[in-house]
Amino acid sequence: MSEASTANDLKTPLLDVERIRQDFPILHQEVNGKPLIYLDNAATSQKPIQVIEALDKYYQQNNANIHRGVHTLSERATADYEQARGKVRNFINASSEKEIIFVRGATEGINLIAQSYGRTNLKAGDEIIISEMEHHSNIVPWQMLCEQTGAILKIIPINDDGELMVEEFEKILSPKTKIVSVVHISNALGTINPVQHIIDRAHEHNAIVIIDGAQATPHTAVDVQALDCDFYVFSGHKLFGPTGIGALYGKTALLEAMPPWQGGGDMIKMVSFEKTMYADLPYKFEAGTPHIAGVIGLGAAIDYVNSVGLDAIAAYEQELLEYATEKALEVKGLRLIGTAEQKASILSFVIDSVHPHDIGTILDHEGIAIRTGHHCAMPVMTHFNVPATARASFAFYNTFTEVDVLIQALEKARKVFS
């Protein structure tokens, strides 16, 4: 392998990665006798100490149920919970906090939209458009809705670079199209989709647009008002926050017209056996005691990402991706899956004669965590005619040196099977 360019030549001045790494306690450990190199960020990201401390503080000092107690702890917990809603609102530039619904994650967000908006507004023969590169979470809820309503699912195909075939999207758009739901950044391919164009075109046909931002929010700044999307969903755990928490953004008018998805406490104004009045937004969609600690942790994660700066993060990760791509292509027999012109820091690949699962096990022996499998995007695997891929996905705490170690480990994997 070429040693021509090494870590130090390329270190970007944009981020003090060494200082950032100090904020992530989990990174400072050995796995199988080697320093951990965590390259499975698209599956879930690691958490900075600021997030861990926010969770800790909530449970050690402020734990109480929200929106109902008059006691001090409840007031503190409620204030922190609602403050986090404000942070989410600013993070994606929603016009109001009423438009931010806390959910378990992007998956639950999409299911909520499908069951609440979809079941109310769709009828037999209506069409829903998704793409071939969707995560199963943006496929299955729509298939379920189609079964329930008789609506029809239409698919935007992808080309062999893993890019959406926008001209095909134009062809399947029609007056029958009621919902368009596409991923912002593909978890399996890294492709950054032209969501603005998709939203504009769909709106010309009076369809509503949902953007799955699970992979996008850690890598790129999102402005839902500029995009003019109708719904946007993302998960906290991919954004350096806790698992089990995420947010759904929806335009006020749409959310107000939608029926509640789940019934229970906290989502009502008044309950009697004759009639129940639902709460106003956003509480109408937050039945039951929510994941209070998770919401507060998500707020802390957003603060952290803002303090580093998404523009700086994106610029650094692009350099890391370019470096990793160049080095990976030097590995004999390696084929990249996903070569879109616009890509986030996700490197999906296969190697001749080494199955991705064997790559995963051999890399684990070197302390390197990557994901192997179909990445919950089986149609993508079918398109590229592979059973699975190996995927290294980078965050801003990853380094050029780690890329070098990854490449050496891939060479080792090749040797085991040569």
């Binding site: 004669s353 096990t361 022996h365 499998g373 059973p387």
Partner: protein, 151 residues
């Protein structure tokens, strides 16, 4: 810490590179499909039995080195055995890669080359790769219509 070579023994590398009994069996009496939804491994098993004796067996599909080598070794081992003997071998193999205690000498002897897969025990995430073919064989022997699943 475990040595990588305990998992990827020479026998396994060899059976992965040139799997034995690979391909469709045209005169199969039983066929079964195996699938590991976790990783996407797929396997078709073709079985020919006469009076409860496995006279021929083959497989095709795609999978990792562990799953291909395991299927290759398995087909080699069960050929000529009765269905009952094949079931017993599955039991012994299962013990080899799942149980904490190592099998006795007698069992190790009957396992023969299958013992090369003993290293899988240290890799819980990979155990299913090694057992998929056995679950599929069992489906074929029992004439199940539904695909064998590891989950």
């Amino acid at each position: 810490m475990f040595d990588l070579q305990d998992l990827y023994q020479e026998v396994i590398i060899d059976h992965n590179r040139s799997p034995r009994n690979f391909g469709k069996l045209d005169d199969a009496t039983q066929v079964a499909e195996g699938y590991n939804p976790l990783c996407g491994d797929k396997l078709n098993l073709y079985l020919k039995t006469e009076d409860d004796v496995i006279t021929d067996v083959s497989f095709d599909g795609s999978g990792c080195a562990i799953s291909v080598a395991s299927a290759s070794l398995m087909t080699d081992s069960v050929k000529g055995k009765t269905i009952e003997q094949a079931e017993q071998l599955f039991q012994d193999f299962h013990n080899l890669i799942m149980e904490e205690e190592n099998p006795g000498e007698e069992q190790m002897q009957s396992l023969g080359k299958l013992a090369a897969l003993a290293g899988v025990k240290q890799y819980p995430a990979r155990v299913k790769c090694a057992t998929l073919c056995w679950h599929t064989l069992r489906s074929a022997m029992q004439g199940d219509a539904a695909p064998a699943m590891t989950e």
